[in-house]
């Protein structure tokens, strides 16, 4: 954690432990993880299946609670919040892009984008929303329903929604998992652009080295522990590293 001292943390977890189940069948999905997600950076979390990467993201985002340790968004400790405050925090300070089923089928594209703001009863920042719509390139689709969009377009709407409320941090859980490579590249490009051009923070879980290569930094998880990290990743370097882990285990 040397490089992060002077950088503001958008989110972080301290000594994070997550145990599923109990007794003989207990599974330690997170086994003492310390991570800081610096503001203004695009961080990817990688690891084989069962490494705890999704759990880490869910706990950091306040979708799940830690068994012990602490998770912060900005300076707010999530463990101290009840369900309602946690919900409000997610709504106001975090954005989400999931692997699939990101959009509410009854709402139009425009309504989906402003959904968190509408739920908060906040007025959308018109200029920002317009800019987002242009960035994701969906101006002509604003009044369509999600079912009328392709998978790639749906993910782009999800990206726009995630950034609509100018959240401290956007969590993306395998955002390209269901897309072909071209659509996937578009979505990843959007995430990266948002970070670089508008100074946003993105934390993305993926198992795809090509996707991870879009990030500023890649964290590697295995068996619930942080095992490695890589600055300025490329797909080849990430792939090599993953192969090395698999050979070891």
């Amino acid at each position: 954690m040397t490089a992060t001292t002077e950088v503001r943390a958008a989110a972080r977890v301290v000594d994070a432990v997550k145990v599923y189940g109990g007794g003989d069948t207990a599974v330690r999905a997170l086994d003492g993880v310390d991570v800081t997600f610096p503001a203004g950076r695009f961080t990817a979390i990688m690891g084989p299946s069962g490494s705890g990467k999704s759990t880490l993201m869910h706990c950091a985002a306040g979708l799940d609670t830690l068994t012990s340790g602490a998770a912060y968004i900005g300076d707010t400790e999530l463990g101290a919040l009840d369900d309602r405050r946690l919900t409000l925090l997610r709504r106001d300070r975090a954005g989400f892009v999931f692997q699939a089923f990101n959009l509410v089928p009854t709402l139009t594209v425009a309504e989906n984008i402003t959904l968190p703001l509408d739920l908060a009863g906040r007025r959308a920042d018109q200029e920002w929303t317009e800019a987002l719509v242009d960035i994701v390139g969906l101006r002509d689709r604003l009044h369509h329903r999600p079912s009328e969009l392709s998978g790639g377009q749906q993910q782009r709407v999800a990206v726009a929604r995630a950034f609509a409320g100018r959240p401290d941090v956007v969590f993306a859980d395998e955002p390209t998992g269901n897309l072909d490579s071209r659509s996937g590249a578009e979505v990843l490009g959007l995430l990266a652009r948002a970070v670089r051009e508008t100074d946003r923070t993105v934390v993305m879980v993926t198992h795809d080295p090509v996707a991870a290569a879009h990030a500023d930094e890649v964290l590697f998880l295995a068996d619930g522990r942080l095992v490695d990290r890589m600055e300025a990743p490329t797909a080849d370097k990430v792939l090599d590293r993953m192969k090395a882990f698999e050979a070891r285990s």
């Binding site: 919900t87 409000l88 106001d92 089923f101 079912s147």
Partner: protein
């Protein structure tokens, strides 16, 4: 076990709660149907054995052969038999004894001054038959009447009137007769012949008070000598009887009485319970159809997989039907048990509310079990048939598709069919209402309208929910918008869910509108036709009550406060071959106390051979003033009368008016149903009423009311009936609401991932709950509004058709306050129905929701 059945059973075991609503709906419908049938059989059986026991000694009954029945009367008037015939009968070989039955109306006044009975079942008085073999009553306490003024009262009536042996009270025959109770009697071991009250007096008293002239009896009871069968007895009696008199066996007489009394007793309850179980089952149809439609939709992937693995269409359909069948049989069987419970409950409840339900074991016939079972299973399977077929049609590839928004139900075919049905309904009702007023085409139109509403439901759902939910967007923001759009997601499902409630609400509204219209009609009748200031009457309906003494009106006329007092008596005759009720009165006074509308001819000179009748009846009978009509009376005589006047309004005065002197030769027991009083100028109503009350007290203490009170009390029975209807229909509405809750729970389950997403991006639990609740409210509001519209329309049709189809001018009234309450209850109930699904939806774990496939 074959595969489809096994699959069906497995899925049923996995999600038994899905079928809670279906189960409840079928259960209630079957329970009420079975309960009604069992209660009917039990009643008939108990009455049958009661009569059998009571009248076992009667071998034959000699009575007048013909009856004259006026329209709307349950029982005809029978020609009396000469008591001199008793001698002749006794002379027939094989006859051991014969006794005349001299019977008439006689209402006891209880110890508290209130009349006993009179609300439906007859209140009878008659001679105490001394031959114990022929008297159906047995002395339980005290002794038989021996002197004038002594009476035996059946124990039930004595209990109700708190009368004991030695008490002196009044018997309205309707002339008040001072009587002393000397004995209490039982009938077939029971406290009485159901609710019928009986006062037994000496033969001389009976002849004096209950018949117009001595020497007449209602019938003659005959006891057979040893070795003579009832049939043989009747065969031997036949040759000695004069024309117009017949003999029937004691068994036949008992059977007639059983049928008469049990149908009288049963009609009200049976009708209510059957209508209710019909409504419950109809509502159930929708609930069941909906549940299965959703379950099948949810199982699309599963069914698609089955199809991909090689299951034939028929097998998938059979699996779904097997599931429905198991639910149907389980619910119906439970319903049968519930039905027996309902019957047992009623049997226990009736005596508690003073309704003697004869003792006896419940009679559970095969039919009362098989029929409800069959109906329950058929309704359930029939409702599941379409969804099951849809399940069978699942394409193997559907496993891969995302079930998004389905626009099922809003098809053009449906819109066209619905519109066609609607137009047909309109045509039929308008014919029934305007062209040739009659209830039948109007009823057919009503059914068509119901079908049209159901067909158009999904088409209308979209528009209706949009309209109803419009304000929600502005009021509740995105939560409201989401609720509204969720309700719009599947118009077919929304409509089917709402249809169940719609039917319940429609029936409630129909009764509300019809009840209010009836009240308005009564009110209008009294205010239009009743020109008097004070009405004297004995509140009673059915065959009960004894009416008013014919001497009351003349007594009132002598009061200084009174200008006119006119009594209306009732007679019956066949006019040109048709049984008709006659109003026996003083026509001139009648015209002063009642508004008869335009009178053609003169009421003044009716005399002994003239009649007056209403214009509509005159048209029906093709009679004009000056024409002659043949009136055949119950005593067997036929006279020719001249039509001297024709008047407009029949509501209170009746269709025919005849003078007392013309009626006198044919009269049986004299009584008036109503005495109308007009006060002299300057006499205050209160003072007049007090004076009238004082006089009336001496004539059996009838009800004395001002014109307004009279109007109100005429309509009073309707509220009581409405309350009963509401109580029963509340259950149907509950079934509908369980249906809404069920649909919502299933929908919430279906939308698990979406709800998880909403929660993830910041929807609070409260917002989520509100969203589900509002959806429920919208569906309920749609059903309620549809039901109100349909019910009000059907109410209007019914009122108008009745108006055109009968002589009574029906007034149509729209009770807005009551309907607003119905609407409020419907919508509130919708919010309640949404509570549980909303709670369940909010409890869901976000991550699991997102991860759900």
């Amino acid at each position: 076990m074959n595969a489809p059945l096994r699959i069906g059973l497995t899925s049923l075991r996995t999600h038994p709660r899905r079928f809670a609503g279906t189960f409840l709906a079928v259960f209630l419908g079957v329970a009420f149907l079975a309960g009604t049938l069992v209660m009917g059989d039990t009643l008939r059986a108990s009455f049958g054995s009661m009569f059998g026991e009571a009248t076992g000694g009667t071998g034959a009954v000699v009575r007048g052969a013909d009856t004259i029945t006026a329209p709307g009367e349950a029982q005809g008037v029978r020609r009396p038999v000469d008591t001199s015939l008793v001698r002749t009968v006794e002379g027939v070989p094989g006859v051991a004894a014969a006794a005349p039955v001299i019977q008439g109306a006689g209402q006891l006044v209880g110890a508290d001054g209130e009349p006993v009975g009179g609300h439906g079942p007859p209140t009878l008085a008659g001679n105490w038959i001394t031959d114990p073999g022929l008297n159906p009553y047995r002395i339980a306490e005290g002794r038989a009447p021996a002197r004038p003024g002594e009476v035996v009262v059946n124990r039930g009536a004595a209990k109700k009137g708190k009368l004991r042996i030695g008490d002196t009270t009044t018997l309205r025959t309707p002339d008040p007769v001072e009587v002393t109770v000397v004995g209490l009697a039982t009938f077939g071991g029971q406290d009485g012949m159901a609710q019928v009250t009986f006062t037994g007096m000496t033969r001389a008293d009976a002849e004096r008070y209950l018949t117009a002239r001595p020497g007449q009896a209602a019938s003659i009871q005959v006891r057979a000598g040893p070795g003579v069968s009832q049939r043989e007895l009747v065969r031997r009696l036949a040759p000695v009887l004069p024309d117009g008199v017949e003999a029937i066996t004691g068994q036949q007489s008992a059977r007639e009485n059983t049928d008469m009394i049990s149908s009288q007793f049963l009609t009200v309850f049976t009708t209510f319970l059957l209508v209710f179980s019909g409504v419950a089952l109809l509502v159930a149809t929708f609930s069941i159809h909906n549940t299965f439609a959703i379950v099948v939709a949810q199982r699309t992937r599963e069914n698609a997989l089955l199809r991909a693995l090689g299951a034939a269409r028929g097998q998938v359909t059979a699996a779904a039907l097997a599931e429905a069948g198991v639910v149907a049989i389980a619910a119906s069987l439970t319903g049968l048990a519930g039905g027996i419970g309902v019957a047992a409950g009623l049997q226990a409840l009736f005596p508690a509310v003073g309704f003697p339900f004869p003792d006896g074991r419940l009679v559970v016939k095969t039919l009362s079990m098989v029929l409800p079972l069959a109906v329950g299973v058929l309704v359930c399977l029939g409702s599941a048939l379409l969804p099951a077929r849809r399940a069978g049609r699942t394409a193997p590839l559907a496993a891969l598709r995302e079930p998004a928004i389905d626009a099922s139900g809003a098809s053009r075919v449906r819109a066209l069919t619905g519109t066609a049905l609607g137009l047909a309904a309109l045509a039929a009702t308008l014919t029934g209402v305007l062209v040739s007023p009659s209830v039948w085409p109007a009823g057919a139109g009503a059914l068509l309208a119901l079908a049209a509403f159901v067909a158009l439901g999904p088409v209308a759902a979209t528009t209706a929910v949009r309209l109803l939910g419009g304000p929600l967007d502005r009021l509740r923001g995105v939560t409201g918008a989401l609720a509204r759009r969720n309700a719009l997601r599947s118009p077919g499902r929304t409509a089917a869910t709402a249809s169940a409630l719609m039917i319940g609400v429609a029936v409630v509204s129909l009764f509300t509108v019809f009840g209010a219209s009836l009240k308005a009609t009564m009110d209008q009748t009294v205010s239009r036709s009743f020109a008097g200031d004070i009405a004297v009457s004995t509140p009673s309906y059915g065959a009960g009550g004894s009416g008013l003494s014919p001497r009351l009106a003349p007594a009132l006329r002598r009061l200084p406060e009174v200008d006119t007092a006119v009594g209306l008596g009732r007679g019956v005759a066949e006019v040109n071959g048709r049984g008709r009720a006659l109003t026996v009165t003083d026509p001139v006074a009648l015209a002063r106390a009642f508004d008869l509308g335009t009178v053609t001819g003169s009421l003044r000179g009716l005399g002994d051979d003239g009649i007056a009748l209403t214009r509509s009846e005159a048209a029906r009978q093709h009679l004009r003033p000056g024409d002659r009509a043949r009136l055949a009376f119950a005593d067997g005589r036929t006279d020719t009368f001249t039509v001297r006047a024709v008047y407009d309004r029949s509501e209170l005065a009746g269709d025919y008016v005849i003078t007392r002197s013309a009626w006198a030769p044919h009269r049986t027991q004299d009584s008036d149903t109503l005495v109308a009083v007009t006060l002299r100028r300057g006499v205050a109503t209160d003072a007049g009423r007090a004076a009238v009350r004082q006089v009336a007290a001496r004539y059996g203490n009838p009800e004395v009311q001002t014109r307004d009170e009279y109007a109100r009390s005429s309509a009073g029975g309707i509220d009581m009936m409405l309350t009963l209807v509401y109580a029963l229909l509340a259950l149907a509405v509950v079934i509908a609401l369980v249906g809404i809750a069920n649909t919502l729970t299933l929908a919430v389950h279906e939308r698990t991932r979406e709800l998880g997403l909403l929660r993830a991006v910041g929807q609070t639990r409260g917002q989520l709950r509100a969203m589900v609740r509002w959806e429920s409210v919208l569906v309920a509001a749609f059903g309620t509004v549809g039901g109100l519209g349909l019910g009000a329309f059907l109410g209007w049709v019914l009122v108008r058709a009745s108006d055109g189809g009968s002589d009574t001018a029906f007034a149509f009234a729209l009770p807005l306050t009551r309907l607003a309450v119905v609407a409020l209850v419907g919508v509130t109930a919708g919010a309640l129905a949404g509570l549980r699904p909303a709670r369940r939806a909010a409890r869901q774990d976000i991550l699991r929701a997102i991860a759900t496939e």
